[in-house]
C-alpha cells in the first residue's frame, strides 16, 4: 500500500524553506508566521500517523517507494515502524515548537528560518528513510544548516563550536559511508534497500578476517562494518569518548537549536544503531553489545552526571545531563529484554521532551539575564513563580520522579538490565542518585534562597514561552501516568528486534 504522508512530512518543510527564501527579507513577522505555518501540516500528519499506526505488525507502514537511480539500485523509499514512529512524532512536535521559540531571533531572520526548515526536512528524512543512500543524504543534509545555525546565530564561541560539531560528525559519517558501501557490495543483488539488507543479515560473513590484526577478537566482516557504523552513531549519541563536541555546540547554539540538537539529533545515534546495526548485523551486535553499548552506556550515565555536577553554566549542565541520559538508552538497548529495549526507546522519546523543556527554560532565563551562571542567580522562585513551577516539573521529570515520564523509562531500562547484567544495573541506578544530586543542587542555587538584588524586577515568563512549554509538560505528565500511549507503538517492532539478536547472544 502506497502512502504519500511521509513524503509530505519531509518535503513540506523543504518547500517551506524555498518559500521563506522568496519572502522580502525585512518583513520579519511574515517570515516567522509563514515558517510556523509550514510546520503545522507535518504536525497534523504526525497526529494522523499516530491515530492510524497499526501497533500489531512488525513491518513498515505508510511505505512509499520509487526508483531513483536504477543503475545503482538506489530508491526513494520511506516508511515507519515501531522503532521510528515515536521519533517522527517527536520531530514534528519539536520543529513546530522551536519555530515559536525562535521568534526572538532578529539577525538575518530569513536565513535562519529557511535553514531551520531545511534542517527539519533533513531530520524527518533520516527517521523515515528506508533506503541507505537516501538515509545518508538526509543524514548529511542536516549538517549544513546545523553548521550555519550554530555558527551565525550562536554565542560568543560559536565558530569554534560549529566547526567542531561539523568535523566530528563528518568523521563519523564518512566511516558510515564506507560501511554502507561494504554492505552494498555484500548484498545480492547489490542494493541500498534497507529491508533487503535486513532480510539478508545472515549472509554477511562473520568469519574472522585474515588481515585483521587483533585476531583473538575474532572480528569478521560484520564486526568491522558494525564498528564503522557504531563510531558514526556514537558520535551523534554522543557516547564517551566522542562527546566533547556536545557541550560546546549546546552552549553556543541559540535556544531553539539546542532543543533540536538535544531533542532530535542525539536520538539519531541510538536510532541508527537500532535501525541498522541491530537487524543487519545481529551477530556483531550480540558480540559487541555488552561492552560497547551496555558498559559504555553505564559509563556515560556516571560520567555525564559527574560532569554535570561540576558545571557552573546552566546550559552546559543540561548538555552534560543529556550525555548522562543518553547512557540509559544505550544501557537499555544492550539488555535484549522486552523491558530494557522498550525502556530505551521510550527514554529516547522522553529525553527528547524533557531536555527540550530544560533548554527552553534555560533560554527563558538567558534572554532576561544575559548570562547562565548558576551562582549568579538565587531566589528566582519569589520573582518568577510560574517559571519556577515549570522548571521544577522539568527537573523532576529529568530526575526520574514517579508520576513523570522520565521515571517510567529509567525504571524499565533498569528492570531490563537487571535481568541480564546486575552490575550495570547498579551502576545505572547510581546515576539516578547523581542526577538528583546535581539537579536539586541547581534548584537550590538558582531558584531558592534569598533573591538576588539584581533580578528583583526580572519579568515573568511570557505567553509565547509558556506556549512552547505547555505541550511538552503535558506529554511529560501523560507519559508518566499512562506510558502505554507511547509504549504500545513500540512494543511489536522492538520485540521482533530482540528476537533477531537473542539467538546470537553468547551464552
Amino acid at each position: 500500500m502506497e502512502h504519500n504522508v511521509l513524503t509530505y512530512m519531509i518535503f513540506i518543510p523543504l518547500a517551506g524553506a524555498v518559500v521563506v527564501l522568496l519572502l522580502p527579507s525585512q518583513s520579519y513577522h511574515l517570515i516567522r508566521w509563514v515558517s510556523a505555518a509550514v510546520t503545522v501540516p507535518p504536525l497534523l500528519m504526525a497526529s494522523w500517523l499516530y491515530a492510524n499506526f497499526d501497533t500489531t505488525t512488525v513491518g513498515f507502514q505508510f511505505v512509499q517507494k520509487a526508483a531513483w537511480i536504477p543503475a545503482y539500485n538506489i530508491q526513494y523509499f520511506v516508511g515507519v515502524d515501531g522503532v521510528s514512529i515515536s521519533m517522527v512524532l517527536l520531530t514534528a512536535l519539536l520543529s513546530f515548537l522551536c519555530i515559536f521559540a525562535s521568534f526572538g531571533i532578529d539577525k538575518a531572520v530569513k536565513g535562519y528560518f529557511a535553514l531551520f526548515l531545511l534542517l527539519d526536512a533533513g531530520m524527518m528524512g533520516v527517521f523515515c528513510a528506508l533506503d541507505f543512500f537516501l538515509f545518508y543524504i538526509f543524514w548529511e543534509v542536516m549538517l549544513l544548516p546545523m553548521y550555519f545555525l550554530i555558527g551565525i546565530w550562536g554565542g560568543p564561541r560559536r565558530e569554534y563550536a560549529a566547526i567542531k560539531f561539523f568535523l566530528y560528525t563528518l568523521f563519523g559519517s564518512v566511516l558510515m559511508l564506507l560501511a554502507i558501501l561494504a554492505l552494498y557490495f555484500n548484498t545480492n543483488p547489490h542494493t541500498f534497500d534497507m529491508t533487503v539488507m535486513m532480510a539478508q543479515a545472515k549472509n554477511y560473513s562473520t568469519q574472522s578476517l585474515p588481515f585483521w590484526p587483533f585476531n583473538e577478537l575474532r572480528w569478521g566482516f560484520q564486526h568491522v562494518v558494525w564498528m564503522a557504523m557504531f563510531i558514526g552513531f556514537a558520535i551523534k549519541i554522543p557516547a564517551f569518548p566522542f562527546h566533547t563536541w556536545l557541550p560546546d555546540a549546546h552552549v553556543e547554539a541559540p535556544t531553539a537549536i539546542s532543543v533540536i540538537l538535544a531533542g532530535v539529533l542525539l536520538k539519531m545515534g541510538t536510532y541508527g544503531i537500532l535501525r541498522i546495526n541491530y537487524p543487519m548485523l545481529p551477530v556483531a551486535t550480540a558480540d559487541m553489545a555488552y561492552w560497547l553499548l551496555g558498559a559504555l552506556g553505564a559509563w556515560n550515565i556516571i560520567y555525564g552526571a559527574l560532569c554535570a555536577m561540576a558545571q557552573t553554566d546552566l546550559k552546559k549542565l543540561v548538555a552534560y545531563s543529556s550525555v548522562s541520559h543518553m547512557g540509559y538508552v544505550m544501557l537499555g538497548m544492550a539488555s535484549f529484554t522486552t523491558q530494557g529495549i522498550n525502556g530505551a526507546v521510550l527514554q529516547m522519546f522522553n529525553h527528547g521532551t524533557i531536555t527540550a523543556m530544560l533548554f527552553l527554560l534555560v533560554g527563558v532565563i538567558y534572554d532576561r539575564a544575559h548570562h547562565r551562571n548558576i551562582e549568579g542567580f538565587g531566589g528566582l522562585a519569589a520573582v518568577m513563580p510560574v517559571y519556577t513551577g515549570i522548571t521544577a516539573l522539568a527537573f523532576f521529570a529529568s530526575m526520574g520522579l514517579p508520576g513523570l515520564s522520565g521515571f517510567i523509562s529509567e525504571v524499565l531500562v533498569l528492570l531490563g538490565v537487571w535481568q541480564k547484567y546486575p552490575g550495570l544495573a547498579i551502576l545505572g541506578a547510581t546515576g539516578v542518585i547523581l542526577t538528583a544530586g546535581y539537579l536539586l543542587w541547581t534548584v537550590q542555587r538558582v531558584y531558592l534562597g534569598p533573591t538576588n538584588e539584581k533580578y528583583k524586577t526580572i519579568p515573568e515568563i511570557d505567553g509565547r514561552e509558556i506556549f512552547t512549554l505547555v505541550p511538552l509538560g503535558a506529554i511529560v505528565i501523560l507519559v508518566g501516568v499512562y506510558p502505554s500511549v507511547v509504549l504500545d507503538l513500540l512494543r511489536t517492532s522492538l520485540d521482533n528486534l530482540n528476537q533477531i539478536i537473542i539467538p546470537h547472544l553468547p551464552s
Binding site: 560549529a162 561539523f166 568535523l167 559511508l177 558501501l181 557490495f185
Partner: protein, 494 residues
C-alpha cells in the same frame, strides 16, 4: 578503421574548426577594435567545435593519420571536457578586470591552442604525438601564466612552470626512448604486442614507466611533481588558473589512461583490465594517490590566498582521482570520468567566485571575503559555499556523488584497497576544515567598518548560477551523467 591522411580529415572536424577559429582570431585581432568581439568569436568557435564533436559519436571508431591519433568515445569525451572548460574560461575572462589589461587577441588565441593540445593529448595513440601534444599544452600554458604585464608574481610563476615543465617532459621523453629501445616502436598497439611477447627486463621497463609518470604526473599534478602548481595558480590570470586546474588536469589523466590502460594493459574476456608486462605499476599509483591527497590537503590547511588554497585542493583532488586508476577496473575509470566532469563544474565555479571577488578587492586574500554574505553579495557567497562543500564531498552536491563512485569502485575491489579508502575518507574530513574556513569567513565573520558594499558584474551571474544549479542537480539526479561516462569508456584498441 585505419585511415590515411586525407581520409582522416573527414573525422577531424572539431580540430579543424578549432584551428580555423585560432587562425581567424589572429587575423581579426589586427582589425577589430572592440576586443570583446574576439571573445565572442572564440566562444562561437568552441560551440561549433562542440557540435562537430557530438556529430562524431555516430562515426565508426578507429585510427586516423596512419595510427597517430585514435577516434573513440574516450577521446571525444575529453574533447567535450576541454571545450566546456574553454567556453567557461572565456566567459569568465569577459568579466574579469585582469584580462582587460592584457593583449586579448593573443590571450584567446593561446587559450584555444591549449584546448587544441588537450584534444590531441586525449587521442594520441603514438608516443610521439603524446609528447608533442603535451608540449603544445605546456608551451601555451607557460605563456598564458606569465601573461599579466608588469606583474612579478605572474612572471615568476611562468618561469617556475617552464623549468618544472621542461624537466618533467625531458624526463618523460627519456622514458619514451627506453620504451622505443625495448619494443622497437612508438605506437601503442605495437608496444603492447612487444610487451606481450615478454623477454623485457622488468627493471628497465619499470624505470621507463616511472620516467613517463614524471611527465604525465606533472600535468595531473600529483606528488612529487606538484611543486609548480600553487605558484602558477596564484600567479596566472584567474580565468586561466581555472582552465589549468580543470582542462590540463583532465588532459593529463586522459593521456595517462590512454597509455597505461589500452596502451600497455589488455582487456580480459570478462571486460576487465589485466597487466601485460610484469611491472606492477598500479602499486605505484596506489601510493602516489595516498601521498598526493594527504600532502595536498595538509598543505591547503593554512593557506590564506584562495587561489593557492584551490591549487592545493586541486592536488588533493588529483589524489582522489588516482584512486580510480590504482584499482585497474572499469568502474574506477568511469568514476574518474564522472569526477572530471563534476570537478570541472565545481572548480570553475569556485575560481569564478574568486575572480569576482578579486575584481572588486584586487586580491585573492581570504581577508577580502570577510562577511561577504552581509556585504550585498549573498548570492556569490551561497554559490561559493555550494562549490566548496561540493569539493569537500558533502551531499546533496555533485562532489559527493563523484567521491561516492570512487569509493564504491575502490571498496568493490576490497582487500588492501580498504586502506586506500580509509586514507581517502580521512582526507575528506581534513579537507572540510579549510573549505569550511572560507565559508566561516564569508558567513560567520562580521564585516569590519572598512569593508565596502559589494558590486557585481552581471555577466558573471550568467555563468555562476548555472554552475551552482548543476552542482546541486547532479548531486540529486546523476543517472544521465553516469550513463554518459560509462559510454565514454570505449577505447579503440584494434
Amino acid at each position: 578503421m585505419d585511415l590515411k591522411n586525407l581520409e582522416s580529415l573527414n573525422f577531424f572536424g572539431p580540430e579543424l574548426i578549432l584551428t580555423g577559429t585560432i587562425l581567424l582570431l589572429i587575423v581579426l585581432d589586427l582589425f577589430v577594435q572592440n576586443k570583446r568581439n574576439l571573445a565572442v568569436l572564440a566562444i562561437v568557435g568552441c560551440v561549433a567545435s562542440l557540435l562537430s564533436t557530438f556529430d562524431l559519436y555516430s562515426a565508426q571508431q578507429g585510427w586516423l593519420f596512419y595510427r597517430m591519433v585514435v577516434l573513440d568515445n574516450f577521446s571525444l569525451f575529453f574533447k567535450v571536457v576541454a571545450l566546456l572548460a574553454a567556453i567557461c574560461t572565456i566567459w569568465m575572462s569577459l568579466g574579469s578586470h585582469e584580462i582587460r589589461r592584457v593583449y586579448q587577441g593573443e590571450y584567446y588565441t593561446l587559450l584555444l591552442t591549449s584546448a587544441l593540445g588537450v584534444f590531441f593529448m586525449a587521442s594520441a595513440s603514438n608516443l610521439l604525438i603524446a609528447y608533442l601534444s603535451l608540449e603544445l599544452v605546456s608551451l601555451t600554458s607557460y605563456v598564458l601564466t606569465g601573461f599579466l604585464p608588469r606583474n612579478r608574481r605572474s612572471s615568476e610563476a611562468a618561469l617556475k612552470y617552464l623549468i618544472y615543465g621542461g624537466v618533467a617532459s625531458g624526463t618523460m621523453i627519456y622514458g619514451m626512448s627506453w620504451i622505443f629501445g625495448m619494443t622497437g616502436s612508438l605506437e601503442y598497439a605495437a608496444i603492447q604486442q612487444a610487451l606481450a611477447q615478454g623477454e623485457m627486463n622488468n627493471v628497465a621497463l619499470f624505470m621507463a614507466f616511472m620516467f613517463i609518470f614524471a611527465g604525465f604526473g606533472y600535468k595531473i599534478v600529483f606528488v612529487p611533481f606538484h611543486m609548480w602548481s600553487p605558484d602558477v595558480y596564484q600567479g596566472a590570470p584567474t580565468p586561466f588558473s581555472a582552465f589549468l586546474s580543470v582542462a590540463s588536469n583532465a588532459a593529463g589523466l586522459a593521456i595517462l589512461i590512454r597509455f597505461f590502460f589500452p596502451g600497455i594493459s589488455r582487456v580480459t574476456p570478462g571486460g576487465e583490465w589485466a597487466l601485460v608486462s610484469g611491472v606492477e605499476w598500479p602499486q605505484v599509483l596506489l601510493y602516489a594517490s595516498m601521498i598526493t591527497m594527504t600532502v595536498g590537503n595538509l598543505c591547503a590547511l593554512n593557506q590564506r590566498n584562495l587561489k593557492r588554497m584551490l591549487a592545493y585542493s586541486g592536488i588533493a583532488h588529483a589524489g582522489y582521482m588516482l584512486m580510480g586508476l590504482a584499482i585497474l577496473t572499469n568502474d574506477g575509470l568511469s568514476a574518474i570520468l564522472f569526477y572530471i566532469v563534476v570537478y570541472l563544474i565545481m572548480n570553475v565555479g569556485a575560481f569564478l567566485v574568486v575572480a569576482m571577488v578579486a575584481n572588486f578587492t584586487g586580491s585573492e586574500d581570504i581577508d577580502g571575503y570577510r562577511g561577504l554574505a552581509w556585504r550585498g553579495a549573498v548570492v556569490p557567497a551561497v554559490c561559493f559555499t555550494i562549490f566548496l562543500f561540493s569539493l569537500t564531498g558533502l551531499p546533496p552536491f555533485a562532489g559527493f556523488i563523484g567521491k561516492f563512485l570512487l569509493f564504491a569502485a575502490v571498496l568493490k575491489e576490497g582487500g588492501e584497497f580498504i586502506v586506500l579508502a580509509l586514507v581517502a575518507v580521512a582526507n575528506s574530513v581534513v579537507s572540510l576544515y579549510y573549505y569550511a574556513k572560507v565559508v566561516k569567513v564569508m558567513f560567520l565573520d562580521a564585516p569590519e567598518p572598512g569593508d565596502k558594499e559589494f558590486v557585481i558584474a552581471c555577466s558573471h551571474f550568467t555563468l555562476l548560477i548555472p554552475l551552482a544549479v548543476l552542482t546541486v542537480a547532479l548531486g540529486i539526479y546523476f543517472s544521465p551523467l553516469v550513463l554518459y561516462t560509462t559510454q565514454s569508456l570505449r577505447f579503440f584498441v584494434k
